[in-house]
Amino acid sequence: MKIPESVLRNIWIILISMLLFMANVIPYPLFVLSASVILISPVLLELRRKKIIDERQVQISHFSSHITFYVFLLLLFFVINREYISKNINPPPQFYMLVIVPFVVKMLISLYKNYGPVPTAQWTGYFFSFFWLLFVVLSHGLSIASLIESIPFLIIFSVSLLSKKFPLAGGVLFFIITVFILVLFRGWWRFDIYVRLLMYSLIPLPLLASSFALVFYHFKEGKKDE
């Protein structure tokens, strides 16, 4: 028997609620494992959705999720304001992470869906290259040191420029740049976990997304040409 998606969604909400109520009763590893499985399952379901399903149900589901996202942000801002800003205290990093990471994910998905992998990967590259250049110029001004430290700008800019004509090469090079950034900023591992999540989703994640998008685009378009 096929269970309708709306029923599955309700079961999911009941499961989350039950898990939260039982959080202090069940063993901690079981709580973490159950929460991970329950929370990740809808994301995986959305990503593997290939078959055509009721488009109106999808539209309703997306609309409600969209509103829920903004309600969540509203509540988050309410808490941040009440607990920190109104008391003239800087909010802890986890709040910045909670606000910024979902926005980065939403922005990336919107860009890829609206404009396709190649332009989005290129814009991501241009953005990071100019951001790097700005950082270098602001740190050292117009000097020899700036010129040397601008090399990554030239590399990321050139890779972005070439991605249109050579998506596979662009994708591979974006991957190498991501690895290089991870090595260069390995000191981030010493940061608080929330700061790490924030930094990794702001810098290597969009570049890694560009890399995968370009490689997938190359193979998808290659198949079409055959």
Partner: protein, 67 residues
């Protein structure tokens, strides 16, 4: 956008909303919403419905003046 799905359902042997929904692979609520004009189907679904009702899609859906 207006439509004549209800009319064509009756022409096609009084097919029910449920039957149409099952054949088109959507829920009955979606067919109700389309018939009421509360939901505009995709080209794919519109073509599917027109195929089930054995008519041209232009006979099922019409643009209104202010569309």
């Amino acid at each position: 956008m207006k439509n004549k799905i209800k009319h064509h359902r009756f022409i096609k042997g009084e097919i029910t909303q449920q039957e149409l929904a099952e054949k088109a692979g959507v829920t009955r609520q979606t067919i109700i919403a389309i018939e009421k004009g509360a939901f505009n189907p995709s080209v794919r679904l519109a073509l599917k419905i027109s195929k089930i009702l054995e008519t041209e899609v232009e006979n099922l859906f019409f643009l209104e003046e202010n569309d």
